[in-house]
Symmetry: C2
Subunit: 416 residues, 2 copies
């Protein structure tokens, strides 16, 4: 299944039809895998995924048995050392990569630093990095940080990926794009853009934070060079859980990443003074990831191992389509064409912040992105059609009643 | 209390005298704060610290209540955003730093990459980094990784810190040294060496992984420029828990670190395309640390907040002194002078690996570092004098009996 093929969707036209779709939903059984607060419709799984029911027990065992009782011997007996590779191989199925092409480590920002520096080294005669100005800011900031380290290098922020052709000259070393836009939810065509970037002689790096677990991704068959992603959104690994990186196998032998920590050494426990990179994806490892947070990922991947991403994509498009259809007269900035849409819906409103807060007060949790976007994420594993119907109706009511126009909804926290 | 002043120690001469010291030990009350396997003397807290009793419950609350129920709203209501700063301020007391000079983030390797790159930028006319060849390898590897990014830069591995003067010329930008050597347990004089490095116009970076929580550290009064450390050894935060970095306040305004992620932005939630570093220590933040592993640190610092490091140092020296005195005819490579010793004892033996395994079979857990060192770490919060007496006797018996010379003790795991 490619992400660009549109899917015919019969959208439900009533709450009863939603209930019927829920009863027939092949993903409905996964709802019981997640803990969610009562009387809440959680439409922010694109920011922080829900807690799997099985996580606390795996965490308890890891902490009390592996750490508390096994102590240092658990490095061998509990197989800790293999986790960045084994968990990476399980994510590989979700992003269309082969075994040994995905590694779980560090964070999205640190991993982008690694692969972008690697890309600049792989294209020594080229010194420009192209990004979208509307990319998630950390991608822009890291690209600045990387290019500052190379003489004559620069990162160029394009108004949008539509402008790529005008800038894809022989000076471009790499292009960094988000597969799904974190604000608008717009989905880019990975295969077509990657091919275009390759024709210009540059390397392609995708940020899949907002697509992994939301839709099928085909990194290998799209011939992508590198990718980075997170595990705390659709993958439900827990707040700020470790990120992952993908490096196409063809780059493994010659890639040289800059964060040469001891876990990326061919023999870390030989404690040699000279760095010798591990063969394969292992050379991208710097340190061992924090084990307790890694355990959150171990737990949630037990669920994801069972999931059919084709079913996820079909339901995701139905849920976002239903929400767009039912939300009423608002400015939806997310593309209405299914093949251009990720798994979230963004709505522009000049008073977006208090509107989101008023909606939260009604038990529908979305979020706000400055200056004026309401964001709603749709997670097919734990959301029902009926909940989405109710959420759209709640938003209509909040807007129609004007109840959001209240001082208590305008007070801001540190994180909006 | 400075770490260089010797402390007069009456070493116990019998198991009864050990029991008397235990009865009078002002730190004895902390033993109940830790979970340890039965019938075990754990002498590997310098590699992975023991599990605090309070950790599972704080972790359960964080996972089930803050993540599971609070979901995205916990960023504000549970104060997550402040944790890298607040936990850093609590570590600051343990390393002699001021408020706002320590940040909890990433790993030792990544943090060293940040501060060493910063140091090279602060000394633009100088391009040499000095380290000890016997340093923990990740420090050497990261120094290689950093210097490769600067034209003409190089890292030089000295046979030992004793050779510093011969190499401290006007080309040296920074010196990176371990406060306590991870193999021998030797302690360097932070104040004297830092002053010497400064007289040569270079910056001083200390790796305090093997001293934080083991002895008092005075980063600020020693005028140290930068330091990195870990929290999973003496600080008991859990396997691979986040690291920390120290940056002297005088460098905050001009420091420019390379891993410019969004959490280091002055206003991360404004989502602006231009990077503008946070004021103060915040500019060294890249991503938010993995929350579950950070919770392990929150729990263990509740204990460390109550600890008098002078008492820790006095007991640590007594325990290591007792072990050296009672271990018999072996080659102790750890300095016998108290002011040159951290909180571990290393013994050289050509068959170190099976000897350690035979000792583990007797319930005394130490570890092995290639090619020939047995390492024993002494953690004053959860070890008693009597246990150390028994451990020394067990090692004497293992060596005298030759029981280590057995095939089952020679089989190696991935982590030795």
């Amino acid at each position: 299944m490619t992400v660009t093929r549109p899917i015919a969707l019969p959208l439900p036209g009533s709450r009863e039809e939603c209930a019927a779709l829920d009863a027939a939903d092949p993903l409905a059984r996964f709802r019981a895998e997640f803990t969610l607060p009562a009387d809440t419709v959680y439409l922010d799984g694109n920011s922080l995924g829900a807690l799997p029911v099985r996580t606390p027990e795996l965490l308890r065992r890891t902490v009390e048995e592996e750490w508390g009782q096994g102590l240092i011997t658990s490095w061998n007996t509990a197989g800790w050392t293999e986790l960045p590779y084994r968990l990476g191989d399980r994510i590989a199925r979700l992003v269309g990569a082969g075994p040994g092409e995905v590694l779980v480590c560090d964070t999205v920002s640190v991993n982008l630093f690694k692969v972008l520096t690697t890309a600049l080294r792989l294209r020594p005669g080229r010194r420009t990095v192209l990004l979208e100005r509307e990319a998630f800011p950390t991608d822009l900031y890291i690209a600045d940080g990387v290019t500052r380290l190379f003489d004559g290098a620069r990162s160029v922020q394009l108004p949008s990926a539509d402008e790529l052709d005008a800038h894809l000259d022989s000076g471009v070393a790499a292009v960094v794009l988000s597969h799904v836009d974190y604000r608008t939810g717009a989905l880019l065509d990975m295969a077509e853009i990657t091919a275009r970037v390759h024709r210009a002689g540059a390397l392609m790096i995708w940020d899949v934070c907002h697509s992994v677990g939301a839709l099928p991704i085909e990194l290998a068959s799209c011939d992508v060079d590198f990718a980075v992603g997170c595990t705390y959104k659709y993958l439900n690994a827990g707040p700020c859980a470790p990120g992952f990186l993908y490096a196409a196998r063809r780059h493994h032998a010659v890639a040289e990443q800059p964060l040469t920590g001891w876990f990326g050494h061919a023999e870390p426990f030989a404690f040699r003074p000279e760095y010798q990179p591990a063969p394969g994806i292992g050379k991208f490892l710097t340190s061992f990831p924090p084990l307790l947070s890694l355990t959150g990922l171990r737990a949630s991947l037990e669920i994801w191992d069972q999931v059919d991403l084709g079913q996820v994509r079909a339901k995701s498009l139905a849920l976002t389509g239903l929400f767009i259809q039912q939300v009423g007269e608002v400015e939806v900035v997310t593309p209405r064409q299914e093949w251009l849409r990720g798994s979230q819906v963004a709505i522009r409103h000049p008073d977006g912040y208090p509107v989101v807060q008023a909606l939260i007060a009604r038990g529908v949790i979305g979020d706000f992105r400055a200056p004026d976007l309401l964001r709603f994420g749709f997670t097919p594993l734990y959301l029902s059609y009926t909940e989405v119907w109710d959420a759209a109706r709640a938003l209509r009511e909040v807007l129609a009643s004007g109840e959001w126009d209240d001082e208590r909804f305008r007070r801001r926290g540190a994180v909006t």
